[in-house]
Amino acid sequence: MTSLSREDVAHVAKLARLALSDEDLERYTDQLRAVLDHARDLEAFDFESTAPTAHPFAAAAYLREDVVVEGLDRDEVLNQAPAVEDDRFCVPQIIGDAP
């Protein structure tokens, strides 16, 4: 584990779509570094022989039958939206294509 840099924090803020002021960046870097430094205690253990746990009780998947269930009323859904046009959710111009 390496030490967290300001650039790292700036990078994750960008990935997470958050804007940070210089002052924020300073503060968050210190705070996150403290948490990650604490996490160094994880280095002490031998992990090679241990499988990761993604879920506490990994039984087999619960499957749903392929049958229609009534959904939501469109007006109730669109009433909650910040901007709507032609029964669709409206967003400002998109710069860049979908991945």
Partner: protein, 473 residues
């Protein structure tokens, strides 16, 4: 104070009405909420019409259910159709969900009366309810102190007598720690026992909904109502709710209870004394008490503060200003997303989103997230080993009694340490309960924590009942 079970019985017998109880609860909230800020929203109309339905059922000779007429507080991260649901975040301010959480539907089906939505740390991230965008909740026992968190609003609402039952969610101790700090019972059920459908996710593999109550028996009744498989939650256990009330008085005779050193490490002397006293109560009730050490528990905190933020960073991506909640306008989509999230999320939420994003990002996954997931395996194995020697584990719920507002807000790591005893059960998925057990040197309430293996709720509740009966008055 009267328990929920007694209230429901008197409603069913016609000695009082749901409307009377609901009006009483609404009056208590109106009188006390200004000082406590336990409720973010009080649903007067919804509560009174639910109460009227229960009263009609009683009048028609129907059984309105085991929680007939019992006012209930819902943590405001539980979706309620048409009723504001904010997760204590500006980003969801004004949102009225078009659907209702499974647990709320089940409570309504059992005759309970949801009276309102309670305060929490934003998106349940915190241990003091100070991270709410709508102001902190105060501890009913001392208004200068925190109620704990993140389910601080429900804990304060129950402790102050506004409602007999509150629902909370527990991701790393968010039911148990505030319950302990407010002097009420708090339960984190086995992962999957209660449906998460309609619970605004913090960390999906750790979140569980559970009750906060004034008695162990009330918690048992409430859990019976909300537990059981839900086809809308794939992670809910494919089995019916356990029957807890029937075995509540089974006692602990012949059981082995282990005092766990790591669940006392760093605890204040009064907390440690309470835990030891609780062990004596269990011994007096016929249990064998042993002392053990589970060194792996020490890794829980670090693993938790990687796994929970990682899942949260993904769960909270959807708050982007497109479909619901806050939007801060900007010239293009990305700028709109950034402006919305920057304004809508508070400090702690941003901190955890960034921490989690980092733990998952290219080049760091194995060192952080991957490693934490392996610790999770180690921890579960260690618990399994302990349960080979003991039926139940006992320890502290929180290191201290309620601390003062502002005491830990500038030092996230210090705040995180208040969850050190509760986190391991979330990582393993096993159940745990906190029971009020006397008070600390400062006169504030203390809680003792009981832990059991997966699906051992019957045993855990029976032991909790013993502790409740043997607790100092």
């Amino acid at each position: 104070m009267t328990t929920a079970i007694e209230l429901a019985d008197s409603v069913r017998r016609g000695e009082t009405t749901a409307t009377t109880l609901t009006e009483g609860s609404l009056a208590a909230i109106a009188a006390g909420n200004g000082a406590l800020n336990a409720f973010l929203h009080v649903d007067v109309d919804g509560a009174l019409s639910a109460a009227a339905r229960v009263d009609r059922a009683v009048a028609n000779g129907e059984d309105p259910g085991p929680l007939a007429g019992v006012p209930i507080a819902l943590k405001d991260n539980l979706c309620t159709r048409g009723v504001p649901t904010t997760a204590a975040s500006r980003i969801l301010e004004g949102w009225r969900p078009p659907y209702t959480a499974t647990v709320v539907d089940r409570l309504l089906g059992a005759g309970a009366i949801p009276v309102g939505k309670t305060n929490l740390d934003e998106f349940a991230m915190g241990s003091s309810t100070e991270n709410s965008a709508f102001g902190p909740t105060r501890n009913p026992h001392d208004h200068a102190r925190v109620p704990g968190g993140s389910s601080g609003g429900s804990a304060a609402a129950v402790a102050s007598g506004m409602v007999p039952i509150g629902l909370g969610s527990d991701t790393g101790g968010s039911i148990r720690q505030p319950a302990a700090l407010c002097g009420v019972v708090g339960v984190k059920p086995t992962y999957g026992m209660v449906s998460r459908y309609g619970l605004i996710a913090f960390a999906s593999s750790l979140d569980q909904i559970g009750p906060l109550t004034r008695s162990v028996a009330d918690a048992a009744v409430c859990l019976e109502v909300i537990a059981g498989h839900d086809p809308r939650d794939s992670t809910s256990l494919q089995e019916p709710a356990p029957s807890l009330v029937a075995s509540l008085h089974d006692g602990v005779e012949g059981r082995t209870v282990a005092l766990v050193r790591e669940l006392l490490d760093g605890a204040a002397p009064d907390v440690e004394a309470a835990v030891n006293a609780s062990a004596a109560v269990l011994r007096d009730a016929g249990a064998t008490v042993i002392e053990i050490s589970i060194p792996e528990l020490r890794l829980g905190l670090s693993a938790y503060y990687l796994i929970a933020p990682a899942e949260a960073s993904s769960n909270l991506a959807r708050y982007d200003g497109v479909r619901y909640g806050l939007r801060v306008d900007a010239d293009d989509l990305t700028m709109m997303n950034v402006a919305t999230r920057t304004k809508g999320f508070g400090d702690e939420v941003k901190r955890r989103i960034m921490l989690g994003t980092y733990a998952l990002s290219a080049g760091y996954y194995d060192a952080y997230y991957g490693r934490a997931q392996r610790v999770r395996t180690l921890l579960s194995r260690a618990f399994a080993g302990a349960y080979g020697r003991a039926d139940l584990l006992v320890g502290a719920t929180a290191p201290t009694t309620a601390f003062e507002l502002g005491a830990k807000t500038t030092d996230p790591m210090a705040m995180y340490l208040s969850d050190v005893y509760t986190i391991p059960s979330n990582l393993s998925g096993d159940p745990a309960i906190t029971v009020p057990f006397g008070s600390g040197a400062d006169g504030l309430p203390l809680g003792v924590q009981l832990l059991g293996p997966a699906r051992s709720e019957r045993l855990v509740f029976a032991a909790a009942q013993v502790l409740e009966e043997g607790a100092p008055r």
